[in-house]
């Protein structure tokens, strides 16, 4: 993509292509995903091609306007010479359906870091950008974000094989029923509980503790970064736009000058160009912000996995604790000593010993319970270990992806800055030429 010549100290580093557009940089990430080549992507091309406004009645029978997105899928096959590619299959989905899909995935694969959706409402906006959901720029950026989401799922080794995901891409009408039929909604409540619950785990897995902390830190720093970036954009906008006033005053001034007039007038036009250039610059930067936002939302997914692990660990500890208590009880019952206070024990002490028969039946019941308990602990332990294994594998995959994507994002941001500087130099050089002719 580019070569930085760091060897020579005399020449400036040579960069192959510093004028990479945001679309190109977006495509670079998509191409990386596609390159990872899951079975699904090997046979299918996925696009979110368009967005359209619709009006209809909602669940409370009120008119509403909403946007639908066109999902195109096309089989991957070699196109014969001179031939046209096959027409894509198409269906329309609205944002709420994407949300439903994601909730299904969250619940069904709690050990996977599920890719996030683009934001529901525009946040971290600087003043010129509209925060309106129906604003065409916002819709366009959301379209890109939704396509990104689908590609991320499609390039995931496990998620790409999910049947419901496949139906989402191919079955417009029947999909909703299919997803409800999976009964995933039952698990939604328990997931919410695990997310919000406050329980103390006695032996937390250090790796997950560290991961959760990192994720929280990342969330905090990206939030701040996005917030400040919006303010920086706002201020920069102001600086550029005020220069536009020079355009007008130079023009007015040129009217009373003789030799100086032409130079002033032309310089004024360049000032207008300078002021206008900020709009495109900041629009491009929004793509960078979107890339950061994706990872901001990713931290929620990571946190979710950590929380799920915590819950499993906690449940394991609970059943283990329960088992230990029962074993204790058995011991006491067998030896006749009371180490642990129990109501039954006290009542028998107060109201007379129980019969041998009673004791034996209690012991038998306890034995049964212990056996069941041991089974439960074994199962729970296996569940926990399996979770840790699969989750950690996905987390490693995620970390690598994050490092690569953010690196690309930072590079493209740096290139944007170079481009902005070049434009600035160009305009001011033009203006200087005009001033020289005054």
């Amino acid at each position: 993509m580019m070569m930085a010549d760091s060897g020579s100290s005399e020449e400036v580093a040579v960069i192959g292509n510093t004028d990479i557009t945001s679309t190109e940089s977006e495509n670079n990430i998509i191409n990386t995903m596609v390159e990872r080549g899951t079975a699904l992507l090997k046979k299918m091309e996925i696009n979110v091609a368009e967005a359209e406004k619709r009006t209809g009645k909602n669940t409370v029978n009120m008119q509403e306007t909403y946007t639908v997105y066109l999902i195109e899928t096309r089989p991957v096959e070699a196109v014969p010479e001179g031939g046209t590619p096959a027409a894509p299959d198409m269906l329309w989905r609205r944002y709420s359906e994407f949300e439903l899909l994601r909730t299904y995935l969250l619940v069904t694969y709690p050990f996977i870091v599920i890719p996030p959706l683009p934001e529901k409402r525009a946040e971290f906006v600087w003043h010129k950008l509209s925060a309106d959901n129906l604003d065409p720029d916002f819709v366009e950026r959301r379209r890109v974000g939704l396509e990104n989401f689908l590609l991320r799922v499609a390039s995931h080794p496990l998620l790409s094989n999910d049947k419901i995901f496949f139906l989402f891409l191919t079955e417009e009408k029947g999909w909703r029923d299919a997803v409800l039929e999976t009964g995933f909604q039952d698990k939604v409540d328990s997931r919410l509980k695990s997310l919000s619950a406050m329980f103390r785990v006695k032996n937390p897995d250090k790796r997950f503790t560290a991961l959760k902390q990192y994720s929280d830190e990342l969330n905090a720093v990206i939030s701040q970064l996005l917030r400040v970036r919006a303010k920086v954009a706002d201020r920069l906008y102001g600086v550029y736009k005020v220069h536009g006033n020079y355009g007008r005053v130079f023009s007015e001034w040129s009217a009373i000058e003789k030799e100086m007039g032409d130079g002033l007038q032309s310089a004024g036009h360049h000032m207008d160009t300078y002021a206008a250039s900020i709009d495109d610059i900041l629009e491009e930067e929004e793509h960078y912000a979107d890339q950061l936002k994706e990872y901001l939302f990713y931290t929620d997914a990571v946190r979710s996995v950590c929380k799920k692990h915590e819950l499993l660990q906690y449940e394991l500890e609970m059943v283990a604790q329960d088992l230990a208590y029962k074993k204790q009880q058995r011991e006491e019952l067998a030896t006749g000593t009371v180490r642990v206070f129990s109501l039954k024990g006290m009542t028998s002490k107060l109201f007379g010993q129980e019969s041998q028969e009673q004791r034996e039946s209690r012991l038998a019941a306890l034995e049964q319970s212990i056996q069941e308990g041991e089974e439960t602990v074994k199962e729970k332990n296996a569940e926990c270990q399996e979770f840790v294994r699969t989750a950690w594998k996905d987390i490693e995959r995620f970390k690598e992806q994050k490092d690569q994507d953010l690196r690309e994002a930072l590079i493209s941001y740096a290139i944007m800055q170079i481009s902005m500087c070049k434009k600035g130099i160009q305009v001011w050089s033009n203006a200087k030429e005009c001033f020289n002719k005054m």
């Binding site: 009373i256 070049k422 130099i425 050089s429 001033f435």
Partner: protein, 390 residues
């Protein structure tokens, strides 16, 4: 040093100047850039023989007051001066005295302006480095303009200013101010018929020009304000990248790279803003004062024309009544007006030509500073950040 103990004692200080006057000539003749448009209507300026500089500000503290003096250095081959070199110390008051003397003794000429005399105590620090630096540059410009003027530079008051040990002006100052005022009112009783069109055009030009400069001043101030706010946000932005870098491994270097670039941006902006307020705005404001001086000269010209017309009218009436011939004073008045007009026109041409050069320099300077800023910001991004990424 003990030399400075004497206040406005203009003792010529032994200057160990590396360049002799003649080598200065040579250097300047090579540098002199004359093109057809800026030819001096008074004659050839290739052999300039009077060079002045204002520099080396020093603070003086006495029981009565604290003030700044500046070193005024002169090099000349003119016979009107006794010595080829002078070095004196002068304070603002002295410059003000010179200006008033020039205005009074050469009423038909445009006298360059001085920087603002009064500054609000508590708002502006009169002894801050920036204020003194800015003021000194303006005083230097003032003196250079006077020294370059073919008529004003021969004024005996300038000679005294540049060479005298002690200006001895304190007694005269208050009186002279009053005299100056009265000169303005002498022709007060006369009303001018009509300002000739060429002077009307000048007046209109000055009004519009002054207005436009005022607008540019406001725009520049607004830009400064916006840049300052941008800078504040940018600083916080940079620190966030640094702190993020701390919690990353693979991403640390690229993030630190971005943080570094933001820092470069910040220093670049500081320089840009400083230049705007130290160099750009003062020159702009000084021109606004220059315009006011020019308008004043126009007014004086109007007054002298009014005086002439008044006297002429009265003389013509008397001639009609009792055949008294037109007195000599009236002809002298006419001469005065014609001289004034000629001087003013010549000065106007000069002023226009200087104005063109000054603004060309000012605006190309502004463009240069902006170009430098972007180049400075871009360099580390290309050299440093992208190599870090690899």
């Amino acid at each position: 040093s003990t030399q400075e103990a004497g206040l406005t004692n203009g003792t010529p200080v032994e200057t160990s100047s590396p360049a002799s006057v003649s080598s200065l000539f040579n250097r300047l003749q090579l540098d002199d850039d004359l093109d057809a448009d800026s030819r001096d209507p008074y004659g050839c300026t290739e052999t300039r023989d009077l060079f002045v500089t204002v520099d080396d500000p020093k603070k003086h503290v006495s029981t009565m007051e604290t003030y700044i003096t500046y070193r005024v250095s002169t090099k000349t081959t003119r016979i009107e001066f006794d010595l080829p070199e002078y070095c004196v110390r002068r304070r603002y008051q002295d410059f003000d005295w010179l200006r008033i003397k020039l205005e009074d003794s050469q009423p038909t000429h445009l006298i360059p302006p001085l920087p603002e005399k009064f500054v609000m105590k508590g708002v502006v620090d009169r002894f801050s480095e920036e204020f003194v630096e800015t003021r000194m540059k303006a005083l230097d410009k003032f003196l250079k303009r006077v020294a370059d003027h073919p008529v004003l530079s021969f004024n005996p008051h300038l000679n005294a200013f540049l060479s005298a040990k002690d200006l001895n002006k304190r007694q005269g100052l208050a009186l002279l101010t009053k005299v100056g005022e009265s000169v303005k009112h002498v022709a007060g009783g006369y009303k001018m018929r009509a300002r000739p069109p060429e002077f009307c055009a000048m007046g209109e030009y000055l009004d519009t020009f002054s207005q436009k400069l005022g607008t540019i001043d406001r725009i520049a101030q607004r830009i400064l304000k916006e840049q300052s706010e941008y800078l504040t946000e940018l600083r916080e932005y940079g620190t966030l990248y640094s702190s993020w870098a701390g919690s990353e491994e693979e991403l640390r270097r690229p993030l630190e790279g971005v943080a570094g670039c933001v820092t470069t941006c910040c220093t670049g902006l500081e320089d840009l803003s400083e230049n705007m307020s130290q160099d750009f705005l003062p020159v702009l404001r000084e021109y606004i004062l220059y315009i006011e001086s020019m308008k004043n000269v126009l007014r004086k010209r109007d007054l002298s024309q009014a005086e002439y017309e008044g006297r002429l009218e009265a003389a013509v009436l008397r001639k009609q009544e009792d055949r008294t011939p037109i007195p000599m004073e009236v002809e002298k008045c006419q001469d005065k007006v014609e001289c004034f007009n000629a001087d003013l026109k010549a000065d106007w041409e000069r002023w226009q030509s200087n104005k063109r050069q000054d603004f060309k320099q000012l605006l190309t300077g502004m463009a240069d500073k902006n170009i430098n800023y972007y180049e400075k910001v871009m360099q580390p991004v290309i050299n440093d950040t992208l190599t870090r990424f690899k």
